[in-house]
């Protein structure tokens, strides 16, 4: 998307975990055969891929909802993508960022487990400098919810019930994943890599979560004070003197020295 960031948008493949076990071999081998895998839609859900592949009809129409089986909410899935180094990396740190997965995932690059991600709304940021190579295989194992829930009608005996509610024993996710009492309960349709996955090069000092606060001296709106905050991290083994440079609409420019 610019000269230091790329989106891993094409070339994703997906299959269920049973196939991976049955077929054997390392996912990270260049010779690994994925001819039986689905072409995956990323960003999207497992269901997006399966509908795209013609396994299930689009649940948005008619009674197609009922064609999606119960087993979908109890299956583990693997995503895999191969990609080459997009540019020279000498002296740069390399980062993989998952902007959103649902619900839980283990992330592997070139045979090394990078870590896990939990919850649909956290970013998964991994420093992959040490295991990045000219030719890379990224694999992501996605787990279903611990308990996909059973929607039931609220009543005096049952209480308000979890109808449409949060999946049990899981972290933050999309709330209507369980189903409702006024349609057949078809649970967990949201598992997958539902946001972009990006690759970025940086130096030793990185910026994160910039915040811009604008303050108007109301009722006067003829001027505004702008405050900019951000998290700055030094990933090097030694201290760094850096300069923060800012530019607003190509007009206002500033420089601010920082020691980290």
């Amino acid at each position: 998307s610019d000269d230091a960031t790329w989106t891993l948008a094409g070339g994703w493949e997906m299959t269920d975990a049973d196939r991976v076990v049955a077929e054997g071999g390392s996912l990270f081998s260049p010779a690994y055969d994925t001819s039986g895998w689905y072409n995956a839609v990323v960003p999207g859900t497992v269901l997006t891929t399966l509908v795209d592949a013609g396994v299930y009809p689009d649940p948005y129409y008619g009674l197609n909802n009922m064609a999606i089986p119960e087993s979908l909410c109890r299956t583990e899935w693997w995503y895999r993508i191969r990609f080459d180094k997009p540019a020279d990396v000498a002296g740069r740190r390399v980062w993989l960022n998952f902007e959103g997965i649902n619900y839980r995932a283990d992330v592997w690059l070139n045979g090394r487990k990078l870590g896990d991600i939990r919850g649909a709304f956290v970013e998964g940021l991994f420093d992959v400098t040490e295991c990045f190579s000219d030719h890379n295989v990224l694999a992501v194992k996605i787990y279903p919810p611990y308990n996909p829930g059973i929607p039931h009608e609220q009543s005096k005996a049952a209480g308000r019930g979890p109808n449409g509610g949060q999946l049990c024993l899981d972290g933050p996710t999309f709330i209507s994943s369980e189903g409702w009492d006024w349609i057949p309960g078809i649970r967990d349709r949201n598992i997958g890599i539902w946001q972009d996955v990006t690759l970025a090069y940086t130096g030793d000092v990185t910026l994160a979560y910039p915040q811009v606060v604008t303050d108007l001296p109301l009722p006067d709106t003829s001027s505004a004070d702008v405050t900019v905050r951000m998290e700055m991290t030094n990933h090097a083994a030694v201290g760094r003197h850096v300069v923060l440079c800012g530019r607003i609409d190509g007009v206002t420019e500033f420089e601010y020295p920082v020691e980290l």
Partner: protein, 253 residues
């Protein structure tokens, strides 16, 4: 130091250029343009560029006020709404709402001689309180839709979402409720910015059951914290609402 991470802040006190004269303001649909600014941030280390970020932001300021009439006709103004959830005829208050009620409703009400026992029933039996939102000092009449009902496909491209925003704008709407956080994604907020839709942003905590805390509170809070940090620069976000049909967990409060 090595490995150090810290918050860096710059303001007009250090950078006079951050004081903007005659700024282009961001307005909700129907009240003016949705002016936006681009902020490019670069950190240079030894002359080489180490990292870059681009932030789109709008210049605007919101203020809030909640107003209610008591059954006896007194007008009570307070900053935030106490819960009106009732079980067995009694209002339920969690820590957050108790604090708000004590500080912003009950204490001023006592000072003014209002019957507090009646106050509790304002939301349930009497005139519902109403929330007043001002943007840039102008009172806004909020009208809009309640978005949710995930389709399980997460088809959230601009091409797919934008027609709905255009419809909202042409209907004269200026508000979207991100119901239970179903639409917590960058393109949703970007389009709200561009189309002047104020966002009432729920979090995704359970709406049903017995008002239990989520089972993994730490995980919930980490997701909530990152959500606020990632999306807070969108000028359209007017209200961060803890949850639907309930109230914040103690940790969230």
């Amino acid at each position: 130091a090595a490995g150090e991470s810290r918050t860096v802040s710059v303001s007009p006190a250090e950078i006079p250029g951050l004081h903007l004269e005659n700024p282009r303001l961001w307005w909700p649909n129907g009240y003016g343009d949705q002016a936006m600014y681009d902020l490019d941030l670069r950190v240079k280390c030894g002359g080489a560029e180490s990292d870059v970020r681009r932030v789109r932001f709008g210049v605007r300021e919101f203020s809030y006020e909640l107003t209610a009439d008591t059954p006896r006709g007194e007008e009570i103004r307070f900053e935030f709404q106490p819960t009106n959830d009732v079980r067995d005829g009694e209002p339920l208050f969690d820590t957050f709402h108790r604090r708000v009620v004590q500080q912003d409703v009950v204490v001023p009400a006592l000072r003014e001689g209002v019957d507090v026992s009646r106050l509790r029933r304002i939301g349930k039996d009497a005139t519902s309180p109403y929330l007043v939102l001002r943007c840039n000092g102008v009172r806004i009449f909020c009208r809009g839709g309640n978005w949710g009902m995930d389709d399980g496909m997460k088809r959230v491209s601009r091409e797919r979402l934008e027609p709905a925003f255009r419809l909202h704008r042409e209907e004269g709407f200026n508000m979207v409720r991100n119901w239970t956080g179903e639409s917590t994604e960058e393109i949703f907020y970007t389009l709200c910015d561009e189309y002047g839709m104020l966002v009432w942003n729920d979090f995704w905590i359970s709406t049903e059951g017995s008002n239990l805390n989520v089972n993994d509170e730490d995980l919930f809070i980490e997701n909530a914290r990152q959500t606020v940090k990632r999306f807070r620069n969108h000028p359209s976000i007017a209200v961060w609402c803890p949850r639907n049909e309930g109230y914040a967990t103690p940790t969230m409060a």
